[in-house]
Symmetry: C2
Subunit: 428 residues, 2 copies
Amino acid sequence: MRLEFYDAERRFTLCRLKQYMKQEADILTRAQAGEERYSGNLGWLHVDEWAGEEKLREIETCAGRVREDGEILVVIGIGGSNQAARAVVEALSCGGPMKILYAGNNVSSQYMKQLLKQLEGKSVYVNVIAKNFETLEPGIGFRILRQYLKERNGTGYERRVFATGTRGSRLHELCRIYGYTFLDFPENIGGRYSGLCNVGLFPAAVAGMDIRAMAAGAGDMERELRNTKGEENTAFQYAAIRSLLYQEGFRVEMLASFEPRLQYFYGWWTQLFAESEGKQGKGLYPTAVKYSEDLHSIGQFVQEGTPILFETFLDIEEQGDAVSVEADEVEDGFDYLNGSSLADISRAAFEATVKAHSERLPCIRIRIDELNEYSFGQLFYFFEFACYLSGKLLGVNPFDQPGVENYKGYMFEALGKYKYRSESNGEN
Amino acid sequence: MRLEFYDAERRFTLCRLKQYMKQEADILTRAQAGEERYSGNLGWLHVDEWAGEEKLREIETCAGRVREDGEILVVIGIGGSNQAARAVVEALSCGGPMKILYAGNNVSSQYMKQLLKQLEGKSVYVNVIAKNFETLEPGIGFRILRQYLKERNGTGYERRVFATGTRGSRLHELCRIYGYTFLDFPENIGGRYSGLCNVGLFPAAVAGMDIRAMAAGAGDMERELRNTKGEENTAFQYAAIRSLLYQEGFRVEMLASFEPRLQYFYGWWTQLFAESEGKQGKGLYPTAVKYSEDLHSIGQFVQEGTPILFETFLDIEEQGDAVSVEADEVEDGFDYLNGSSLADISRAAFEATVKAHSERLPCIRIRIDELNEYSFGQLFYFFEFACYLSGKLLGVNPFDQPGVENYKGYMFEALGKYKYRSESNGEN
């Protein structure tokens, strides 16, 4: 993974960037060691802790049981509980025998009805993922789906349920009572940092993803980022550039790529930065665009709108086998493309976009060799570590999310929850 | 459709809003009449011009030919050429006999290969939509798909091709040469305003949508907005509030709803405002969130991040038949929901979110009775008219998009287009 920075208008000099990184070097050093004060949230920092050989083997064994006769796995979870797995699965699985569907991530009747329709006549398994099992959406989703499984499969349906939660939670208790398979949601990992543990790896393994490659990518990135000092450290470069751009008045970071398969990765990335940094009245608003489609939409604003944006391009260098544009008998206005492959055309569009946009706004380019499990592992770790650094540079705690509680209070009041119980712990 | 505004911190008084609307009343009056200077772009202003009885009948006839023996319609178009149809179809069609797929909206090999795989063994029709037929993506998509159709179906494949373009364009010429069915892309409608003409209505009709209800919704909204004066006019209220919030320093408008089916409507709305207003260094950055999912992501930033956002809620009041939460034998922590329907829960979550968010940021609520073809017609017209007013208040031309051309120059150079031809007209 390589990082480049373009800034035609020189909002800050390379010299200032280096100076800033030197001045804040302590933040990198302390993050590399893992700070004591965040020890309850740094379970992701050492990939081996939750994605080492033994854990991977356990996950593969459980996933194997599902893959034996399963046709559909419904992943029940919201926010950090499903984003990483969904990012990988929706990008890389192309119509294998095992289908992954998602529930517990909204409160739409329509959505639930359509989901249940898709399950008809299939061999269905469920993986409910909820750290504290206090959040409404997965609670409802799990209730409806376990009732569905029980009704369809009768006694013995329990083997179809895998629950990922923390020990001592109500979910853990339900596993004991009913005999569901329990998987640890690490106490020391928050939802948005949970790609490389049971939370992200189990559904990915069920979908047939190579989770060893994911772990290897994350592990390699961990070693690189832990061993690279100061201004050579790419995650620190990224965090420092974002920080200086924020200081220069930029307020929106736009993640961009020409790879439609990254759609759900965008969701993961957006949550990571929105929850980690959007506090104390601070933070860059994270947003993402699907090029080339969005060049015909947001593109206008990028090029000429209010100058509050900078852009971070994910550049996937290898496109794999490509479709070519074959000549046609009649000139249709596109003969200049005859013989070109879509990969060549996509490359030209990418370079042209970086060139045009970087004439106006600061642009970061992150180069990745190709899109596979290994690179997803790299990307998850890279951005998590960068986000840790970035939050520190901003002066906020990158691991809490106090603001997601506000609406819950009003909602629980309206739904009469407090008649039942009085605690209300956030889950993200 | 009703509009409400919440602003706990009173960034501006109701009195100031009324004063501002009075002061700018001329903008409304002139838009209601349709300004001469924009006459080349106001084909959407009178719904009857391109979606009157005669046009609807033509569209239904053409759509009927596809529906007779078609199983898949591939819509080839990008930006304004596919957004409106996709918004309606993806929200309302639930697994009918006719499937709509989309091509020509990216340059991904992977995407194209998966698309072609889905066509295997099916009766396929194609609707290519391109105003000037200069844009790369639909050009490539159409080339590949018509070659595919020809190879699969041999002579006679031509009846499977419907081309929506302007008269005199290369696309029109290809229709003459090959015998494809030609549909008018109105010269006086830009892509992002094209939902209520052949562009949006033909694919919608093929998908089995009630296009007469769409036209009725748009027509009713047209009459309401044309006949309602000054401060009572909801589109003018919306435009004026956005404008004052922009003046107060807000830079991002976030469209929000709890309806997952609005996903592609978000894309349509985003393009409408990004291209209409993002120019001359001005404009609100348009973005959209899917609640409740994004409450567990962007929600933190909304509640506590940099205060540059305001929020526009789409409130769909009627949810239809709802799934209920049934009691379970063991207490799982969610018994306070027993007997509630997802519609009730969704309503509680919606109200709680508006309440919590409006304590911190300005919020607009737009109430819609229910989600159907009629309300999509209303929404399209409402936002188009409001965008016209809003662009005028901002002092920009709401109908051009000069900024989307920049990257194209570099791209065409790299791809050697200029060796073939020298003109380059934008298409959006």
